[in-house]
Point group: D2
Chain length 315, copies 4
């Protein structure tokens, strides 16, 4: 039996597009749309699939709460890949329907919010309707007797339901993107590629003032840039947070390893989420000061120096 | 005409309960339920109401994205008060319906997630239905011929629609709480009470490594504890974030003022959201190291010392 | 009566050269050589002179302990000027004595140490003798029947005692320099020039771990570079130190003022030693991270922003 | 031939007392007094002795410049032991001389400075004379026809020259102490004792702002307290310093090792001076913030955790 992959459905969403990009070799009938992020995680944890794809964060809306919750809680899973998909919205209609004919548009509320300007300009009189996903909108429009004239969806969604693109790029922000992750059951991380990212969840003890700065310094002192820091309530009452951290580099690198050991020491708990190839090199927050001389070569040279000092050699 | 107040509706939600607690003197017919957080902000901005109440963060789900978005973008509003409301779920049914009779339960998806354990134990055979709010669930149950036998909602929701409490405290976490804020048009902040909170949004330049530690240090160096730090995409692409910060103290305090000036200097932009009385003293994250001698008295003493030094007095 | 100035004697030392450079308009008979740094401080404190010149640090030997001790202890004095004098040693002899004739050389032990290479090369057979100052060496050589053939001294020393320069630049390091300060009784510091230095002594409480980093951060956070940090025992037992700090900028500058207020708050005691024009702009250690946007204009802009925020203006 | 040990002479100084305390088993005729700190270092470097004892710092006067210079420059030596000797001054005279008879007192200038109060009270009419060491003073007083009636010296100095103690504890500060070190040729450091000290010299690049804070943080982040920080000019002109650092712990400890590797990475050069048993546990400056969980056990636990993470085990 070929490998199976779960993803946040229905078919035709941006998540399916992400899965296609991450696993182009996987046939469509080996992919399993799930209703809900939690269902994807469950399918992975229970071994019913070999991996799963879910959205992690969106450049407009922020973190996807359900994904973050699943990564933090429940049985551990490991992130093994990521991909950033441009959020390009297309207006789809049934064959023969022109822009001027469109009086009603269905889509997901987030998509609606991100296309408001275009719709106000180009379809000022059209009524808009919220449905559960952009793919569901496309599916609904495709049905005979649909109450909707058009759908705003991902390109993959319109194509899947046999619709015709009436207008491309109807989103108000041309640079919007969503970052998706591929999850699997825990195991050795993929080998370093030289451009990797490492994700962890850090639980700092709330009776320990200064802990957050100390946590960030563990990375900064080793020249490890952070690309994302997201707080998340631990569920133990208002004001109790943990921190989801994405850092540049791979756990097998000396500097990342030393930073993670430092984080482990000062935190109540740390959940390692994975080291995996970066989708691209341009999405760096880099909020931390990279000190000089923190290359992996510098780390190895310092180790050799320490060995010499400990053995009494003149350095 | 009396003062009018908007809130995230419908009537009977936890948000209405928050408004009652913040403004107990306001008659019900001076309160305006709105459909959507954005509608509350718009009503405030346009001057149609004197203030509005919206949820800011939940101890289980985290920040309320719509509220954060409105605080960051659009015309400025000011936070003038906050309240933390315990998320206590009650199972409501029509008069005469006993627990054993309940075969279907309606509520909001978040409430459903937070009552899953209780329902599995006490109503293992009941079907559950998601509706748009806990109050809508109560309203639906109250209607003659309702498809639902019971609703999980806030106490205020069941009461408003004439339902009877079948079971109290049906949430799985007894300590869950939601923090609500009262917003108004910009103006001088309320006078310091001695136990205040200050909220700002800080935009750090992403070409400036170390900026986040530097930002946190601006508070830490003046002994100002942070009670919340939430990242939020700026909308300018993946990897670009701003930070929503809640800090202890009032902008009129010397140490808070100096910290904010420091933040202002190092950030691309800072939006001041308000200084207001803290709902309580127990919800502190306090992630920062409070250095010694950072009371306001210490700040004033140091100012006097500097004046003497500058004038040439022997100190 | 004209103003009188004390300096570390005897006449003809580098200190006299420093005084000449700092106060070129003062006639020689208004200058008072003192035997010992403490005597210069006493003359200033008791009002017998209007100011005094002493060495503060040497680029080869480090801080001058006696000067540091006097600045830290006893009645306060204020540093009002500084000058860096190149330590250029000259070999002087009586008229008619050639290099080949020199069999004995007198000088101060520090000078001897710094000219050892030259002497070994050029006068390999000459015997060397230590005397109490380079000027005393010159004076001794000038006396009829002197036991010494030559003296290594400052140019001013040889000239004062009528000697002839046999060789210039006999020091082994061409870049050696000594920094001298002018001290006066406390009073308003000289007006800022745009290139100033500020000196303080900070006493940190030794029961307060992290105090030194915190102290350095008070400057770094305001973009104030340190040009010198010297520890000094407080006299209360081994392991108890205070720190003599030279920083860039003038106490009348906003950023320096705020930094000093921060230092004042966290320290047990701070002694302000003065703000005065920098001798030159090239002698900067700059060991601290200058954050962005810490110009005085930035400080004033932030003050105006805070005033607007406090008054309720939209910012 | 038994082991030979050099020390800063002459015989009878506090340095000889320190050598006796460090090496009580060494017979007097195996100890070699040297004239000058540099001579002790040379004897060690050239292998003429097995070790040497020199003063490092005094609680009143601060660092001993000659010792610091030798440690930083020239062929490396290693510190293998330390001892803190209380600076207890005794007034010695020849047999038969009473306090009332004393009209002249000889001693070293530093001793004179530290006994000024006692002498003013108890011998207000006695003249004082400076000689090259306290032991030289005792020796001079012991000579027949000595111009001096009494000497202020260490107890060992008076005894060695057959003098009688006229008064004990004549120093103005009862807690003054000098710290001495034992130096040897480089080799493996002595085994950790659990209460050790580690000394290094760090050369930070002066074109690198923030380097000093970064340097201190390398220790602070690993919970390694500093007990001494002394700046010292590098000799390359005013404003260029290196830092002599004493830290708690032993180079063989995980946390000290990691801190030193960090220092090595960020510095232009580091000279390791040794790890050796602490003379006592009470002389700690501890200027750095010890973060939680930085015991060596914490370091080893974190190493094991990282190994598990790298191998793909669920942690």
């Amino acid at each position: 039996m070929p490998n199976q992959y779960a993803y946040l459905g229905p078919a035709g969403t941006f998540t399916e597009a992400a899965l296609r990009e991450l696993k182009p070799e996987v046939p469509v009938d080996s992919t399993v749309p799930c209703t809900g992020v939690d269902a994807v995680f469950t399918a992975v944890r229970e071994g019913r699939v070999d991996g799963g794809v879910v959205p992690l964060e969106n450049s407009v809306e922020g973190g996807v709460s359900a994904t973050t919750a699943e990564l933090i809680e429940g049985a551990p899973v490991m992130v093994t890949a990521e991909v950033a998909v441009p959020v390009e919205f297309t207006l789809f209609a049934r064959e023969g329907v022109a822009l001027a004919d469109i009086k009603s548009v269905a889509t997901h509320p987030h998509a609606l919010a991100q296309c408001r300007g275009w719709l106000a300009t180009n379809l000022p009189d059209a009524e808009t309707f919220s449905v559960s996903s952009t793919a569901a909108a496309a599916q609904a429009v495709a049905e005979p007797g649909s109450p909707y004239d058009a759908a705003v969806s991902a390109r993959i969604g319109g194509k899947r339901y046999g619709l015709r693109a009436v207008a491309e790029g109807v989103g108000d922000r041309s640079d919007a993107a969503t970052r998706f992750i591929h999850i699997a059951r825990p195991g050795p991380p993929p080998a370093p590629t030289g451009a990797d990212r490492t994700s962890v969840v850090a639980f700092i003890s709330d009776d320990h003032p200064g802990a957050l700065i100390e946590l960030l310094n563990q990375f900064a002192m080793r020249g490890v840039n952070l690309t994302r820091l997201e707080s998340r309530p631990t569920g133990d009452g208002l004001g109790k947070y943990c921190f989801c951290i994405d850092a540049e580099g791979h756990v097998h690198e000396a500097r990342v390893g030393e930073a993670l050991m430092g984080v482990r020491r000062i935190c109540t708990d740390v959940r390692f989420l994975g080291s995996y190839p970066r989708a691209d090199g341009d999405t760096t927050l880099t909020p931390l000061q990279p000190p000089r001389r923190t290359s992996n070569a510098d780390f190895h040279e310092a180790e050799r120096w320490l060995a010499r000092v400990r053995s009494g050699e003149v350095t």
